[in-house]
């Protein structure tokens, strides 16, 4: 492993903490004032909460500012959350709208430069440089992935191949013919490419190409997927994270340590809150991550509730960055189940299963209420990898799963082993949770 891949913005990425906090406060005060003075929605909600930007004296004072929700973004769509005049807006993007109607974000020239810099940093963090041939297989268009990574690639000086998504045989041909060294796409598309190559192009060998690294994001993925991509493509796979509401990809990115994503804190202030009470939790706690942009002009986001569940922590990272790390997002607060008072995310159960089985698990969680008590049943499909001809081994497996759920989540669950392909799959995507409690 290389220790400390080059940093694109060393000054900010390795800044001593006190200095970073001071910079954040200075920028936060500008950003909150900018939102208040130039956007009627922010002015209205700040006023209603009895908050004025003059009251922001410390970073902690931000807790007095109301949250911005996804619903408010939708209600103000398309341009209601812009804080500059339209003549200064040079581009718009839109979220995919997978969980409701789409939200629109705008960028000034300065915002685009910030964004390209954040992507350039992410590329550098994943070992990329001006020597790379970067194949951008994210979709180009309203979606932030394609154009976002494109301009970041140019910023770092890489040779950008703007192929966009799809057209898999062409993707593979270009990897071969252009000597692509770095791939950027969704992790599921990377696996799709590997599948396609092994099915239709038996002579294609990723190890004989120059492909060395990949930057994957725009959807949650697991360590099991990382191992699969790395093994099948013979590359190092890094996680890049972002939300179009905040800026797009480039909010945080993994480094050579591949443990946690460094948040670019000179551009974003992050808090972890309890998704139910909204209370800010101490560093190290798991909860919903809340974003505040520090320098964005067109669409400042002040305390945006991402619904993403993660944990923030600081360690002395081998890469030399002092930036706070966030864990891979482990779930959405919308998916959160409350079982006998305990918050449970389906993804937590998923990662337990990945850990135990070593493969991508197929499972379903059924929650029911008998009398006053919630019952949770975890149904796990028995794939060949975990199957044994011995009953005691199979019993030990379900026992182990139940024990892990009990020790990690603090709830007892009934674990049932089921045959493959018995669990409901809607439109290719498995239905993970069946909550029968509302019906009774």
């Amino acid at each position: 492993m290389t220790t400390g891949s080059a940093m694109f913005s060393r000054e900010f990425e390795s800044m001593p903490l006190p200095q970073l906090k001071a910079l954040q406060l200075e920028r936060l005060r500008w950003s909150v004032r900018h939102a208040y003075e130039h956007n009627p929605h922010y002015r209205k909600t700040f006023d209603a909460a009895g908050f004025h930007p003059d009251q922001l004296k410390t970073l902690e004072d931000l807790r007095r500012v109301p949250f911005l929700t996804k619903q408010e973004m939708r209600d103000n769509s398309p341009f209601g959350l812009f804080a500059v005049s339209m003549k200064d807006v040079v581009r718009v993007h839109s979220s995919s709208g997978t969980t409701g109607s789409a939200t629109v974000v705008g960028y000034t020239r300065g915002d685009l430069d910030l964004w390209a810099t954040l992507i350039a940093r992410s590329l550098a963090s994943a070992g990329g440089s001006c020597d790379d041939i970067l194949q951008v297989a994210y979709g180009y268009g309203l979606f932030t992935g394609g154009l976002g990574v494109h301009y970041g690639g140019e910023k770092i000086g890489a040779t950008v191949v703007p192929i966009s998504g799809g057209n898999t045989d062409r993707q593979l041909m270009l990897i071969q013919d252009f000597g692509t060294t770095m791939l950027a796409c969704t992790p599921s598309y990377a696996i799709n490419m590997a599948d396609y190559a092994s099915r239709h192009m038996p002579a294609f060998d990723f190890r004989k190409t120059r492909l060395r690294r990949g930057l994957f994001g725009a959807e949650p993925w697991t360590e099991a997927m990382r191992r699969e991509i790395e093994a099948r493509m013979g590359i190092d796979a890094y996680d890049i994270y972002g939300l179009s509401e905040v800026i797009g990809p480039g909010v945080s990115c993994e480094c050579s340590a591949k443990s946690g994503l460094h948040v670019f804190e000179d551009a974003f202030y992050v808090e972890i809150i309890d998704p139910v009470t909204g209370e800010v939790l101490p560093e190290g706690s798991q909860g919903e991550i809340v974003y505040t942009s520090l320098t964005k002009e067109c669409c400042p986001v002040i305390r945006y509730r991402s619904r993403d569940i993660t944990r923030l922590y600081r360690d002395s990272c081998a890469c030399g960055r002092t930036l706070v790390k966030m864990e891979k997002v482990c779930g959405r607060s919308d998916d959160m189940l409350i079982i006998r008072g305990v918050n449970v995310f389906p993804s937590q159960i998923e990662s337990l299963l990945v850990e135990i089985e070593g493969v991508e698990p197929h499972y379903q969680i059924v929650v029911d209420r008998h009398g006053a008590l919630d019952d949770i049943e975890v149904m796990v499909e028995v794939q060949e990898e975990i199957f044994s001809d011995e009953l005691k081994v199979m019993n030990a497996l379900s026992g182990k799963i139940a024990a892990r759920i009990r020790s990690v989540l603090g709830i007892s669950a009934k674990v049932t082993l089921v045959e493959p392909a018995t669990l409901e799959r809607g439109a290719g995507k498995a239905r993970r949770v069946i909550d029968r409690r509302q019906l009774s």
Binding site: E384, N395, V418, P420
Partner: protein, 143 residues
């Protein structure tokens, strides 16, 4: 010399066994013997068939979770105390039997015991030392 047993994960639900047997029958594969070990919600079907590799592929293609397991088949005279003496050969050597089942060969009028050991090689050595006949693949699978 080891015999291939097919082990199949089976949910305890009506119709499941039938659908597995149909997959086997549709391939014209003959089952020589089978046994089911079960707990509350599921069971493990263990069977000896004439063409185990083909049966394995057919079941996998039908998305059935199954595996091939090495077992030993031992021919035993159908007389009082024969099984007792056989098992004694294992116990005095501290060889543990994971599971076992039996069937009768209709032509030669002896019993065939199927054994699954955690240490198959040690069991084999014990059997040979005591003069037992370990049956060949061709005798059990037929072809």
């Amino acid at each position: 010399m080891n015999i291939t047993q097919l082990s199949v994960f089976l949910e305890n639900k009506p119709g499941r066994l039938q659908s597995i047997l149909k997959t086997i029958a549709d391939r014209d594969i003959n089952i020589r013997t089978l046994t089911i070990a079960e707990v509350n919600d599921f069971g493990i079907l263990r069977m000896i068939v004439n063409r185990p590799d083909e049966a394995y592929e057919a079941l996998r293609a039908a998305h059935v979770t199954c595996s091939r397991t090495d077992v030993l088949a031992v021919a035993l005279e159908d007389t009082v105390g024969a099984l007792y003496r056989l098992i004694e050969a294992f116990s005095k050597r501290d060889i543990n039997i994971e599971y076992m089942y039996a069937f009768t060969d209709r032509y030669q009028a002896h019993s065939i015991m199927i054994f699954r050991f955690d240490d198959t090689e040690a069991a084999k050595a014990a059997l040979l030392e005591e003069g037992y006949t370990i049956m060949k693949r061709s005798e059990i699978h037929g072809e």
